[in-house]
């Protein structure tokens, strides 16, 4: 398994901005990995995502995606490999109906119609939206719209899916629904997933986490390594996972808890052993 994304010394400044949005960002992403990028508002998460598929051009440094170095010639090939699901379900829905929206990316690439129909049906099936193919966006829920956005992306057969805060405007049920679909697709299609998120529980399921702070990489590590900082994360404007909050509350009430990060399951295990008198 090679690296599917390689970013080296990436710098980016928005025109008219005084400060750099990204400073010397370097990291690799392995094929099939689920990587979460977290950081407070304005830490440069979305800017990073847009730099990865050429929506923004890096000021200096190189971005390599699926063996291609991002440049003006390769940008459209790279976009074919990288699908992004954005935050607002309404503002990324181009087509007049669900099927049209899924077909939009294929139309752009000049895929012949027969092939297109096949891929649209297949993608809608994968995200469980077949019954809604003729619906208009106004009649779908936020979670359903995001599922359509995912279908539109997997119809293009990408290698990488970037979730740019795609669950942040959804209710908890819609969030679970969308993440469930992504998780299934990831294994089935051997995708690499980059999820940019505020939702700490979404980050907790990733293989690795990149912690961004003011445009710089603060730390890269596994969820256990990152969340072991516990309440220090609050200082960086981040939340801590529920299990960590519970642990903290228990420590304050005098219960002895291990220092390492525990996910929900391990926390239950630990409490259960602690309670056991046998």
């Amino acid at each position: 398994m090679g690296n599917v994304i390689r970013v080296q010394h990436l710098n980016y400044t928005y025109p008219e901005a005084k400060h750099q949005a990204l400073t010397d960002v370097s990291f690799d992403v392995a094929k099939g990995e689920w990587l979460a990028i977290i950081g407070h508002n304005g830490s440069g998460k979305s800017t990073l995502a847009k730099n990865l598929n050429g929506l923004l051009a890096p000021e200096s440094g190189t971005v390599e995606v699926a063996g291609m170095t991002l440049s003006e010639e390769t940008v459209w090939d790279i976009r074919a490999k990288v699908g992004i699901v954005f935050q607002n379900p309404d503002n990324q829905f181009v087509g007049a109906t669900v099927a049209d929206d899924v077909a939009f990316g294929l139309e752009n690439r000049g895929v012949p119609r027969d092939e297109m129909v096949k891929r649209v049906d297949e993608s809608l099936e994968r995200v469980g939206m077949t019954a809604f193919a003729d619906r208009e966006p106004a009649r779908l829920s936020g979670g359903q719209k995001q599922r359509v956005a995912i279908a539109g992306i997997i119809a293009q057969r990408p290698e990488i899916i970037i979730l740019d805060e795609s669950t942040s405007m959804l209710d908890p049920a819609g969030r679970q629904e969308v993440l469930g679909v992504i998780r299934e697709l990831k294994d089935e299609l051997n995708l690499t997933v980059l999820s940019i998120t505020h939702d700490i529980d979404e980050a907790a399921v990733a293989h690795r986490i990149i912690l961004l702070n003011d445009g710089k990489i603060n730390e890269i590590g596994t969820p256990s390594e990152i969340f072991a900082h516990g309440t220090d994360l609050l200082r960086l404007g981040l939340d801590v996972p529920y299990s960590e909050k519970l642990k903290d509350a228990l420590i304050q009430r005098g219960v002895t808890m291990p220092k390492a990060y525990l996910d929900n399951e391990r926390l239950v295990d630990y409490l259960w052993t602690l309670h056991s008198t046998m």
Binding site: W76, R79, I84, F86, N91, V94, G110, P137, I153
Partner: protein, 265 residues
């Protein structure tokens, strides 16, 4: 807010519903053209019967069509009144100053009335049986020859499609902003005309600004999905003429023939 002219489509699977939207669009225009061929009671009768037959084919209750006439009723009555009172000819029934009610005036008034109703029925039939989206497709397809004179038909079609797709979204947003401003004390639709116009500003400006955000995000999403514009794109949605479209065209031809024949009498 959803009582828009375009949103009145009634889903169905009737003979008329299944026609190609291009056929429907062209036939409606053609029909409105030939309404003006009718000039006596025989021709109007033929047109009326033909229209009722088409309405029957669409399987939609006549009530919907009558409702289409309602908003225009004053305009129709006004025009009819003008005809009745000012056209002179034939037997005079009543006469006062420069106002005359004559046989010719009455006949003309009746014809104008029927003509209005027929045109409204036909355009209602078009909007009730055709999805706005298919209409946009039809417009695109029919405009295609204009590419020769460098009209950007594909781009126009995309603009039309996105506009139609965002109508309900913007409507929702409008309602939301209105309610949000109401909650902060703005009175919509009250006071004199200037006060009312002023009250619209807190609605319009946020709507305008949010349209920019939407446009920006939509453009980003489109680009991320490989949109480069131009005519190299393939199309998911295609229109095909079927047998019934030829039958409809034949029907229109027969109707024209009958009208021309009976017009002479």
């Amino acid at each position: 807010m959803d009582k828009l002219l375009l949103g009145r489509y009634i889903p169905g699977h009737s003979w008329i519903h299944e026609l190609d939207p291009r056929t429907k669009l062209m036939a409606s225009f053609y029909y409105i053209g030939i309404v003006f061929l009718a000039n006596n009671w025989q021709t109007y009768l033929i047109m009326f019967v033909a229209t009722l037959f088409m309405i029957w084919l669409s399987g939609i209750r006549i009530g919907f069509f009558l409702r289409g006439v309602r908003p225009l009723i004053w305009l129709i009555l006004f025009t009819v009144a003008l005809q009745v009172l000012f056209v002179r000819g034939g037997t005079v029934y009543w006469h006062w100053g420069w106002l005359w009610i004559t046989k010719l005036g009455l006949i003309n008034g009746a014809f104008i009335f029927v003509r209005f109703v027929l045109i409204i029925f036909m355009s209602t039939l078009l909007t009730l049986t055709t999805q706005p989206l298919s209409l946009a497709d039809a417009v695109e397809s029919l405009l295609k020859p204009l590419r020769v004179i460098r009209v950007p038909v594909t781009e126009l079609a995309l603009v039309l499609q996105i506009a139609l797709r965002f109508v309900p979204t913007l409507m929702d947003q409008t309602t939301k902003i209105m309610n949000a401003q109401r909650a902060r004390g703005v009175d919509f639709g009250e006071g004199n005309i200037f006060q009312q116009m002023k009250a619209v500003v807190p609605l319009l400006i946020p709507l305008f600004v949010s349209s920019f955000t939407t446009a920006d995000e939509l453009a980003t999403a489109m680009e991320a999905r490989g949109y480069q514009g131009g005519d190299d794109r393939t199309k998911y949605r295609i229109l095909r003429y079927h047998q019934r479209d030829w039958i409809a065209a034949g029907g229109m031809a027969v109707l024209t023939g009958l009208l021309l024949l009976l017009r002479a009498y």
